[in-house]
Amino acid sequence: MKTKHLNREQLPSFFNAITQAGKIVIAPSRIGDKIYFTKVDSWEQVDLDFISSTLSAKAALFPRWEPLLQFSGDGKMMTVKDTEIPDTETVIFGLHPCDTGAFNYMSEFFEGGITDTYIQKRRSKTTLITLSCKKADDACFCTSVGISPGASQGSDLMLTEMEDGNYYIEVLTDKGENLTASARDIFQDYAVTDKTPYLAEVPLKFDLTPIQEKLGNSYDSPLWINQSLPCLGCGACAFVCPTCTCFDIQDEGDAYAGTRLRCWDSCGFSLFTLHASGHNPRPVQSHRWRQRIMHKFIYSKSDDGTGSCVGCGRCLRICPAQMSITDQLQSFAEVK
């Protein structure tokens, strides 16, 4: 791994070098009081002073809706045309390690087993620049799910702001190497440095392994009913979540011509599991809430023991009923 130094004043030049190479940049930008990952055209639109963006950056790979194919026909023959994913290279700038971790999960989910070619192509053309966290809030819990404020796994380039405001750079992949090579004169070689003093402290909220054990035996626990009573059944937690990947397929048009779309969906909605027969295998909110927690921590558990929750804390921050995934997991830990 190469390590480099980037002067704070050189950030706009770095940005310009990326865009001048014809790449799209998706970066945190402020609308009102909130930060959103959005396509930016100039460095002035970028705001790196944030703990968490309201929505994650997952839409860069998995848009809230996208056309999958066009169909048309004369009633006898049908022609189907796949949507072409553009060849443009995209750079996502300023992801925090939790969100980069979410990209690792999304790759596993969409590209492992049956490959989702739309998302695979986007992912292959995406470069991730992660920004270490220098601050955190009490909703953050990445350290409880195996990530940390300086974790670099999945990043192509990792930036850590040092005491003097300049950046310590870790060049982690060929894609990262290409980016620094495109702006060679603004990066200086730099010794391998201990990032710890520059990172936010995120205290452990829970001990994952024993909770997973408890959850594994809690499918029929009465706790689900009590915990889910405040749940309003909206999809806010799923839609702000960087690793919620469920979608719904919709056709728009008529029998002769139209578009097949993929749209975000949420297991919190009653319609999510409603069968055409009228039967709903998850008829009540407690079943849906259990599904959400079980999927995050048990069903999606990978070889390293972590699930698909990256501890970004977005669901805690936005829940209109103040439900807290960390408090709820903790209450499972307390079950005798």
């Binding site: 959103y36 309201t54 889910s228 919709q250 779309l261 009540v284 936005i318 209109p320 009923a321 807290s324």
Partner: protein
Amino acid sequence: MLELHNRARQLLETQAVNLILGYGEGHGDEPRPVFIDKPDTVTRLIFNERCIQNLAVYLLKPEVRTQGKIGIVTTIPVSRSILQLAAENQIRDEEVVLLLVQADGKVSEVTRFSELEGLVAQHETKIPAPDQEKISILQKKSREERWQYWVNEFNRCIKCYACRASCPMCYCTNCTVECNQPQWIPVPAHALGNLEWHIMRVMHLAGRCIKCGECARACPVDIPLHLLTFMLNDNIADIFGQRAGMKAKPDYVLSTFKPDDKENFIR
């Protein structure tokens, strides 16, 4: 606080209610709804100026209804919601006991919704000043500018339906957006889908919005969608002289027919 705890404990002990719905400590500074079914846990109940979520939304949720008779910690917006729900025949006196918390901490028990009418009449239903200011700015814009303003705002909508889920008046078990034969409202969160959803939501709340602002508070992307229902509520009051959430009797504007209506088309 002590009085609230005592009243709640008494209601549970005497089995006058099966469940107390109120506010408890939540994450950080924000209280969260708590559902208390045991007398010895009533001390979890809190009440302060941060307790603003409109708890009336839970009264019609099937999961809550199946718990039996509910005691609910009641604020002014909750009172207005309950009156409107009663006016729409969604809830009856005998299903709920209201624990009305006054500004001085006193708690009074209300078992007949009509007793709330006097209370809500004393409290202004005027649009709060900061919201009125935003509305005034919008009203000064041209029709095209206003349109563009809402198109921009709705552009952020992710169709999580938190606005719908948090609204006590959005209680349909099968919402229009869930009808798919035919699909009235496009499912995707694209420009048309978002616009149609928000127009539909607002129109269905015409004359029914009790102005709690819960929809905007719930919106994760800060769309000020309460301004639309607030404005519509004022329009209805100007035209028909009626406001939602003021009376428990079912004679609110959308369910009222008068033979001497000034409009010809309705006769």
